[in-house]
Symmetry: C2
């Protein structure tokens, strides 16, 4: 069993955090404010293995870190977590660079020749950043069997083979993913982050967030 | 049998053009220069139902128009074709806004809060622009069964329901697609054009262009 930091108190953080607790891990949810009500309420609901604190508290606690913040707040949250609490650790980056300031559907504030994952890796060069799970709705992240019996694809991007190996184990062993596709180094996160505009249009056309893509060849 | 314009002499134009000729249609391939050698060679190879000319010659000839130009040259080609030759017609837009000037892999010169399809529709408001087929390699466009027995998805985006109905008939009846997903109006082309960076990374990771995505829910 591992000690895990979950940064972010939104739907993604709560869903990932609850799944990790259900698997028997100890999870500390981090947020800007140590007294964040959503984090406190989540920890109370999840019981003894769940706790909460600042971003720094959580990152110091975790052997590995899930970044479940909104894309807009991701770098700020990781700065608050502190490089010393991230160095040498696996940072699973689930955030998407969504910009809601220009109306709906949201656009991207990073992309094309850049990505949020690359910005994170650049600012924290000693952390092992792996981008994954950002292409699906949070309920499916931890329960891929909810869609088509789990016969669909999740991607990962990162510079460190060992970190990606660990992520593949987590995705398969903990969350139940069957098809994990390694796209390559962290720059390949441009691909999955740029998929968001299609995801948003698919959401609209299908009328549900319970879908994913399967790579077929 | 229809009279069809194919704008563009590259792999996409040649593949689409040859498929349409094989189906029994009359196809005129258009390019900047009426004496374009690739177009002349293609027309000679394809026989009596194939011809070539300028963009304007082709667009005047076609009851419907396939835009198979490189994304960079798309608007220029359609301007050369002339609004009078496009007004009221179905324009099937297959182009992607790829920018090779910043190195490989290419980035996008339109996207996020805009798309090439929208620029085309805006400049030719009386044409019925439908974006489709831009998310797969050209061989699969006209032979979806080449991948996974055809069990995968092609998208379309456009403002005119009648034009999209015609495109669905073409995709299914002529090219053999089983799953055609209408994403909505022309702005939804932002989704499929923004998918290109992921397509390019998948191409790299899979080591083949013979793949596609299947939407599962």
């Amino acid at each position: 069993m591992a000690k895990i930091a979950v940064l972010g108190t939104g739907m993604v953080g709560q869903t990932i955090g609850s799944k990790l607790v259900a698997l028997g891990h100890e999870v500390k949810m981090g947020s800007r404010d140590a007294k964040n009500e959503k984090a406190a309420s989540w920890a109370k609901k999840e019981g003894a293995k769940a706790s909460h604190g600042t971003f720094a508290d959580a990152a110091a606690f975790g052997e590995l870190v899930f970044n479940c913040t909104s894309g807009h707040g991701a770098l700020e949250a990781l700065r608050a977590a502190g490089a010393a609490n991230l160095d040498g650790k696996l940072v699973v980056d689930i955030s998407n660079p969504l910009d809601f300031s220009k109306g709906m559907p949201p656009s991207l504030f990073a992309g094309n020749t850049d990505s949020l994952a690359e910005r994170i890796q650049k600012e924290f060069p000693k952390a092992h950043v792996v981008k994954t799970l950002n292409t699906i709705n949070c309920e499916i992240m931890v329960d891929p069997g909810k869609v088509a019996g789990g016969d669909h694809t999740v991607f990962m991007s990162g510079n460190d083979p060992g970190a990606k190996g660990r992520v593949a184990e987590i995705l398969k062993g903990w969350f139940g993913w069957k098809n994990v596709l390694d796209l390559g180094d962290i720059t390949t996160a441009r691909g999955t982050e740029s998929y968001m505009p299609l995801w948003l249009r698919l959401w609209g056309a299908l009328g549900t967030a319970d879908f994913n893509i399967k790579i077929v060849k």
